[in-house]
Subunit: 155 residues, 2 copies
Amino acid sequence: MPAPLLVSLDAEFARLAGELAESFSFNRSVGQIYGLLYLQESPLSLEDIGQRLSMSKGNASINIRLLESWGAVRPVSVVGSRKDFYEANRDIKELALRRVREGLTKRFDRADEQLTRLLKNKNGSIPAGAAKRVHELQSLLSKSRKALGFVGKWL
Amino acid sequence: MPAPLLVSLDAEFARLAGELAESFSFNRSVGQIYGLLYLQESPLSLEDIGQRLSMSKGNASINIRLLESWGAVRPVSVVGSRKDFYEANRDIKELALRRVREGLTKRFDRADEQLTRLLKNKNGSIPAGAAKRVHELQSLLSKSRKALGFVGKWL
DNA sequence: TACATTGTTTAGAACAAGCTAAACGATAAA
DNA sequence: TTTATCGTTTAGCTTGTTCTAAACAATGTA
């Protein structure tokens, strides 16, 4: 299938959003969907989304629920229609900050916990140097967790 | 192959590092290699690394060069041996900050550039609302780029 | 020079992610 | 109740990534 010669602003914008999403290790579809909704004046249905982005409704369904779970899109009811409509939460700053904070907090906590367990399990058979380095790591984790509270302060 | 009952601190720590790396969308091997080197008292050769982590030397070679390109490990010469030896750069804070800053700067710049080109190409056929939103985006990008200069200030 | 030792590259196997199309299930309308 | 219209789930295809094993290249040594 040859690429279309003239694409709409929406489609092109969604394409870019898909690429950007991929560069952040999201999948392409969530980026395209969010990008499409970001520009709309009014909410779109799943069917709209699938058609405009040439993607299956199954795929649209899965990824719109992902976006919903992050608070990146909101379901909107439309009178006279049984369909689900969605609109974008355009506060990207707030969205991104929350996601970064939550994601990092979770991983830092998990890492800290695992290191503590490791030290406990191997207790007695740990070379002094290694123990020191693990503790340095935990100290960095602790500082990082605290610093997360200030993320976005300059935005 | 059954999992060994008693694993060394090194091996277990490398395993955790591999998992953590995966959670940050690196590959497992770079995490394991860096984790292994992080704890060592003295540099290890490629062969050492492959053996201790049960990975092929080809894989070790590729990923150690990746780590080297990030400044996460340093090659160290050892007198009396032809082998390449490596030690970890343990300044994780500096490593992570630089990587985050560089990665984000690159992506922000690219996105900004693409948006500008988009507006130019589609000029005339852009709804007012859409144009406003694209400009809001660019404004956020600009602020974010400036904020990157302050990342890590609280660490 | 011939050989041994080391790192790199390559071919392909194994695996994981993402997507489509179709089956399915639920719900509202007739 | 039957039918039509939706969203969700599933099975399987495609694609990209990661890894191993083996071939290869480079370099030092005898």
